[in-house]
Structures are given as structure tokens and as C-alpha cells.
Amino acid sequence: MRASFENCIRCTICVENCPVFKVNPEYPGPKQAGPDAERFRLDGIETVDKWITHCTQCKRCDYSCPYGVDPSKLILNAQIRYVRENRKTLAQILFSNFHYISRLGSFFSIITNIVTSSPVLKPVFKAIGLRNDIPFPVFYFKTLQRNRKKAVRTPYSVEQKTAENLKMPLVVENERYGNIPYIEPKKRKAAFYHGCYLNSNAPVEGRMIISILEYFGIEVAIPDQVCCGLPALGNGDLDKARGFAKKNSRELAGYINEGWDILYSCTSCGHTLIYDYPEILDTKEGELVSKNTWNLYEYLLLLQKEGTIEFNFKPLDKMISYHIPCHLRGRGVPYPAVEIFNQIPGVNIFIQDENCCGFSGSFGFKEKNKTTTDTLGRIAVESLMEPEPDTIISDCGACRMQISNFTDTTIIDPIQILHKALSLDGS
């Protein structure tokens, strides 16, 4: 936590930024739910109110607070306490264990997909408090873990790739900097933390990421990994979340010690790895993981800046609306994918970062949050459609799922644009 809740001066800037507050009158907003209520919770008696579960953990309050108070962290701790003080619901148990569901779901993908899309399961969903009116994500059998390349953790024996097999000219022509001499690339190795969604529900996009990294001559490994722990944390199961975090950070720290950089594409996994591992989850290797974990596009930009890679994009005629996931916004840097896409000729990109799509992972699957989720989704999609885009992009699988419920416009992972612009799609 950056600053104590006592630094709050009640300016209500966090309230102005809270997506749930503006659509759900039952939720008192981050100021009251966070710093205001915190002093009552200090007593230690059972004081957490039910409305605490309305918070989606979008982190917009932390981002906007001018005094360094992190209301979302106070709220998260209260949410965990609320679950401890009350009985866990079935939905909470289910989503805390989403890792296992995701792995099982993809192993039995044929059955899973038939069952989740059939009306048979609808009453069951309803009984455990889940929504049955939105499509369940499709599971793939060929996950990233299943046909992964075995991790080559013998870093020093790897043959240095030369400029030639990187398909790069020795003098790079660049209209901005003129001719710059080719710099021998520093050998970069990236261990890709894909998380559950890319693994089980979007392995096609996952493979695109790997192929792009390899195209740039970066050695890629897919480490052994489990769920980042965010769904467990969001459903109040701190112990389970810590268990996942420990497992992941031990494995990833091993890679880091051998000179690998950790990459993520799922912005919520990334946020958990960077922000929660050292703090709330408090793992031994957390600090190490936090310091060495990179957003995929930030990493590519860094490599471009240090001269390791060059982008040779073919022109694409596209009008793109970019829905910024809340957890990417929370990172607080100019959006790295935008900086890359601005280099693709013919691409017009509109940033839409003022709206949370309202889905927020397991939050949006719960029947009790239906109105909040749907109202926010409609608002977000309305502003995404304003520039009349032909394509909508978003890094987050859950955001994409939510947005596709409200529009017919193509909604894809940003990596698909990059894949196309680098002519890797065979065209």
C-alpha cells in the first residue's frame, strides 16, 4: 500500500472514477467502502457490510487518488474478510478453483463445449447463482501447455542468432532516424506467462504471440504455471490465491535467475504478478517476479528502442477502437500497444479508456451482478462505437467476451493486428 487510509481527504475523486458507483445505488463508492469504512473495521468485530462484494476491483480508484491511498486494496482486504465472516457461496468456491475448471474444461473440451452451450445446464447455473443468458467461453483441447516446447533452461549454450537469420538488414533504413547502424542484438529470452484464458480459451492468439516473439529472434519458453490467483483473491480465498502465487513465483523466479524475462499478455494476470505478488500475496520470490515481469508490448517497444528488433510493417487499412482493460490502465504508462500500432501505416487507432466494460472476470458471471455488468457494458460499447470502427481490440479476454455481447463488430486481441501487419498470417 502506498499511503495509509488516513491520508484520504475525502475529495471524492475516486468516487468520480468508480464504474460501479455510477450504476449501482447499493454500492457507496470507493471512498466510503475503502478509507471511510476502514476505521470501523479496525475494531476487529464483524463489521464488513454485504455491499463490499459489489466492487469489481477495477483499480480505477487507486489510479485516480491524488493522495496515494489505494482504496481498492482496502476494499479487497475487506472482501476477503467478508467471505471469512460469512459462508462462501457455491459460485465463490467454483471461481476460486477456476484453474482446475479451466484445465479440466479443455481436457474434456468436446464434452465441455457441448454441455456449457446446451440448455441442460441452465437450471444448474441458475441454482449456483450464475448467469445463464450469456455464452460461456469455448474451451480448446490444444492448449498452450499441451503442446508447449519444453523449457530450454540452458541459457548459455544457445547459439547466438545472427542478423541474417533474424531477416534484418545490416543497416536499417528508418525515416525518422535516417540510416542507423545495425546493433548486434543482446540475446533476449522470454518466459511467457499465459494464464488460464489464453491457455484454454484463446490458444490460437497465444500461439500468435509465441510466433511473433520467435520471428523477432527471441527465445521463448512456456513455463509450468497455474492460475495467477486473481479469481481466488476476488472470491475471497486468500489461502488458495497464496498457494497459486507461491507455485508460480517459485517457477518463474527459477527462470529469472537464469536470465529470462517474464512476459504476460493477459493484463489482469500481469497486474496480479506485478502488484499483488509482493504485497497481498506476500511470496518470497514475489519481489523478483514483480520486477522482472513485462507487458508483451512494453517489452517489444523496449527491444525496439535498444535496437534489438525493427518493425517492418505492411500497411493495413483499419479503423480501430481500442478498449483499454482497467488493469492495463492501472499500469499508468502510455499504452504500449498504441505506440506500436501508430507505426503501422494506415492504422487509425482510437483509445477508449474511460469505461470499465463491467465484466471483471468472475464478477460478470454472477447473476447478482447482472444489472451492473450489463449497464456498464452498454455504456462502454456505445463509446467504442463512436468513431465507427471496423475492428475493436482489447487485451483482456473477459473484456472481449463482454463487448461481443453488445456489438457485431469484430473484436479481437491486439496481437492479431500485429500478426497481420508483420505478414505472419500467410497473406
Binding site: I13, V15, E16, S64, C65, P278
Partner: protein
């Protein structure tokens, strides 16, 4: 990342400076710890004092006031530049910068300001003029009885929006079905006056079309009354202003508290942003300090001395015995004078850095509360500092 200019602070002066510089083709970044105070303001641009002519008021300001460093022409040009820029971007301000007007406040009194956002165009209530108030059931941050006490005979109609926060109602107003229900309800009320006052909840994103539709369908002139924070007019202004800057190519670093900086000889080279994991660094050729005053966190008082929180440069301190003897809630308290003294090039005095500039309410002797010059001073010193940066980088 490397920029030509890094502006620290995303309030009115910081964003204004960044837009000016980006328009001149300089690569500009804005770094902010959180959202600025202008996002909870009334959205009005106060320029100076309470008299009818703003420039006559400015002439009466003491010689050390930062306005005098900008000069009359500079003030007029920069605020008009702001008005035109944001107007073209769909956020229209009413009023002339050389005149003051008064608007109705949520406590039923009037207050002086110069430029008002378009939904407050008719908020200047003339002597003996009647108006009607539309309020909302259980609304938390607006109390119509304050207005009625000060304007006896004013009638109030109350609409049930099924939510009690200004933000909640404003969000619903953006929805067309809700707006139509609201309009048909208004038409069923027996409103006798031409003017209708309403707390500032007429939408967040679609205020212009909402206002147009209201006036078309009801034949009344609607004006918004600012509410207690959270303030929708402030939110609209900040979001629009930030988007305008982004459209000019300004890069934003948010949630970005500066923990450290590097300097070489007399130049600041890089600032370090503290965050979990790796810190981010921003390097630039010139820096503008627009972190605001005490409320915004640009200045701090630790019981014995004043501290500038980013670069720890010297702060002008008013006589410290005065600080505790005077009535704390009276306008013109000496603490308002504290701040950064600048030279004619908007560089802080005795700071020891040749590429550091300062703008906005962090400037010493600005006394924005006493002189009623908040946003006006922020805009004009923001542009003035940016012009000096432009000159410096040539």
C-alpha cells in the same frame, strides 16, 4: 522514455502547457500522481475578483502576483486560446474573459466567475427574475431548500430517478430512454417560468445533445447549478481536456508518484516514478512543475518549514508567526502566499536547475482563493511557462 518536455501535474496549468507544447511539435509527457482538483471543481473559469471588469481587477492585484508576469495581453491570449481549443473539441464556454458574471450556487447564493460551461449559460439570475427548480428524490449533494430560502417563491419539482447520487443520475441521463421519460415528466409539471434550474446532472458524455433536446421538447431554458463534489461539470471538463491533449499527441503517465530524479550539472535529466515492480523513468530536455499547492500535494508544511514535494526546491515562506495567529478560515490567510518564486522566464528562483519551469497554483503569491483567479491563473501561467520552454529549447 525520452521526451522533449515532461510536465509534472495534470491539472489545468499542466495540461494547458502540454497542449501548447504538443501543438508546437514537441514530444510532451504529463506525469500525475492522481486526478487533479479541477475534476471536482465547478468547471467555471474564474479569472479575477468580483468586480464587473476582470482586467480592472487584475490591475489592483499586488505587484508580486504571478498574473503580472504573464501580462494583460498574455492573459487574454492564453485564456482565449483555451476557450477556442476546447470549444472546437465540443466543450463550449459562454462569457467574455474581460467580464465577470454571477451564477447560482448549491447553497442558493451567487458567486462571481468569468467563463461558464455551456450548461450554465443561463445561470446568471437577474434581479426579480423567477425560475423553477427541478430536483431529484433523495439526491445527496444538492438541497433545493437552500435556493428557496434565498429566492422565496421559487417552486420545486422533484423527479424520482431511482438513484440518489449525482453521478448515478448523470449516467442515466446519457441513456436516451431515461431522458425521454424525464422529458415527458417535465412536460406534465406545471412550470410557469421560462428558466429552469437543475443540479448539474445533465449527462456525462452527451450533455450538449441532452440540453438541446430538453430545450426543444419543453420550450424552457435550462441551467445547471453546480453541486457538492463529486462534481459532474468538473469531471466533464477534466475528461474533455485530457482527451484533447491526447489527441494532440501528449503522453500520460498516471498513478505516478515521483520518488527520485537524476540531474547533471544544472540540468534535471530524468525522473523516476515509484511503483510496485520496476520503477518507470521519464527523461526530458525540460521540465514544468505544475503540481499545485497544498491541497494538490505540490507543497507541504511540516510544522516548521514549507517543502516542495518533487524536487525539494526553495519555497517562499510568508512570515511564520502570522501563520498561527490569524483566523484560519478567513480569506487572505498568509499561508496562501507560500509557493515557488519565479523569474521573468518562469524558472524557479534559487532552484539551481536551468531546465526547470513552474506554473499554476504552486507559484508564490498567487492567492487564488482571495483573488478568485484559480483556473484563469492556471491556464495563463501554464501557457506562459510553455512559451518559455519553447524558447529555451530553440
Amino acid at each position: 522514455m525520452k521526451y522533449n518536455v515532461a510536465v509534472i501535474g495534470s491539472g489545468m496549468s499542466g495540461i494547458m502547457a502540454s497542449i501548447y507544447l504538443a501543438e508546437k511539435g514537441l514530444k510532451t509527457a504529463v506525469i500525475s500522481k492522481g486526478d487533479p482538483i479541477c475534476s471536482v471543481s465547478s468547471g467555471c473559469i474564474d479569472i479575477a475578483g468580483t468586480g464587473s471588469d476582470t482586467f480592472l481587477e487584475i490591475e489592483k492585484f499586488p505587484a508580486e502576483h504571478p498574473y503580472h508576469k504573464v501580462g494583460k495581453e498574455g492573459i487574454a491570449d492564453s485564456i482565449n486560446y483555451f476557450k477556442e481549443l476546447i470549444g472546437k473539441y465540443g466543450f463550449i464556454y459562454s462569457g467574455d474573459i474581460d467580464k465577470n458574471r454571477s451564477i447560482l450556487t448549491p447553497i442558493g447564493k451567487k458567486r462571481t466567475t468569468s467563463l461558464v460551461p455551456f450548461p450554465m449559460e443561463y445561470a446568471d439570475i437577474k434581479e426579480g427574475e423567477n425560475f423553477h427548480i427541478i430536483s431529484f428524490k433523495d439526491i445527496k449533494d444538492f438541497f433545493p431548500s437552500y435556493v428557496v430560502i434565498n429566492y422565496p417563491g421559487t417552486k420545486v419539482s422533484v423527479f424520482d430517478a431511482e438513484t440518489d447520487s449525482t453521478l448515478g443520475i448523470a449516467t442515466k441521463m446519457d441513456n436516451e430512454d431515461f431522458l425521454l421519460t424525464f422529458i415527458s415528466w417535465i412536460n406534465r409539471q406545471n412550470i410557469e417560468t421560462d428558466k429552469v434550474g437543475i443540479p448539474a446532472v445533465l449527462g456525462i458524455n452527451k450533455t450538449d445533445s441532452i440540453l438541446k433536446k430538453l430545450q426543444e421538447e419543453t420550450g424552457k431554458l435550462f441551467f445547471e447549478i453546480p453541486t457538492l463534489p463529486p462534481s459532474i461539470p468538473g469531471l466533464r471538463l477534466y475528461r474533455k481536456f485530457k482527451k484533447l491533449a491526447e489527441s494532440k499527441g501528449v503522453c500520460f503517465y498516471g498513478n505516478a508518484e515521483i520518488s527520485n530524479f537524476e540531474s547533471e550539472n544544472d540540468k534535471i535529466t530524468e525522473i523516476v516514478i515509484k511503483k510496485p515492480g520496476r520503477p518507470d523513468t521519464v527523461s526530458a530536455d525540460a521540465f514544468i512543475l505544475a503540481t499545485g499547492s497544498f491541497v494538490s500535494g505540490g507543497l507541504r508544511f511540516n510544522k516548521t518549514e514549507f517543502i516542495e514535494t518533487v524536487f525539494n526546491i526553495p519555497v517562499y515562506s510568508p512570515n511564520s508567526t502570522d501563520l498561527f495567529n490569524k483566523d484560519f478560515f478567513k480569506l487572505g490567510h498568509p499561508i496562501e502566499k507560500a509557493g515557488i518564486l519565479i523569474n521573468e522566464n518562469f524558472k524557479p528562483l534559487e532552484a539551481g536547475f536551468s531546465n526547470l519551469f513552474a506554473a499554476g497554483s504552486i507559484l508564490a503569491n498567487s492567492e487564488t482563493m482571495k483573488y478568485g483567479c484559480g483556473h484563469g491563473m492556471a491556464i495563463s501561467t501554464g501557457v506562459a511557462a510553455a512559451k518559455n520552454v519553447e524558447e529555451y529549447l530553440k
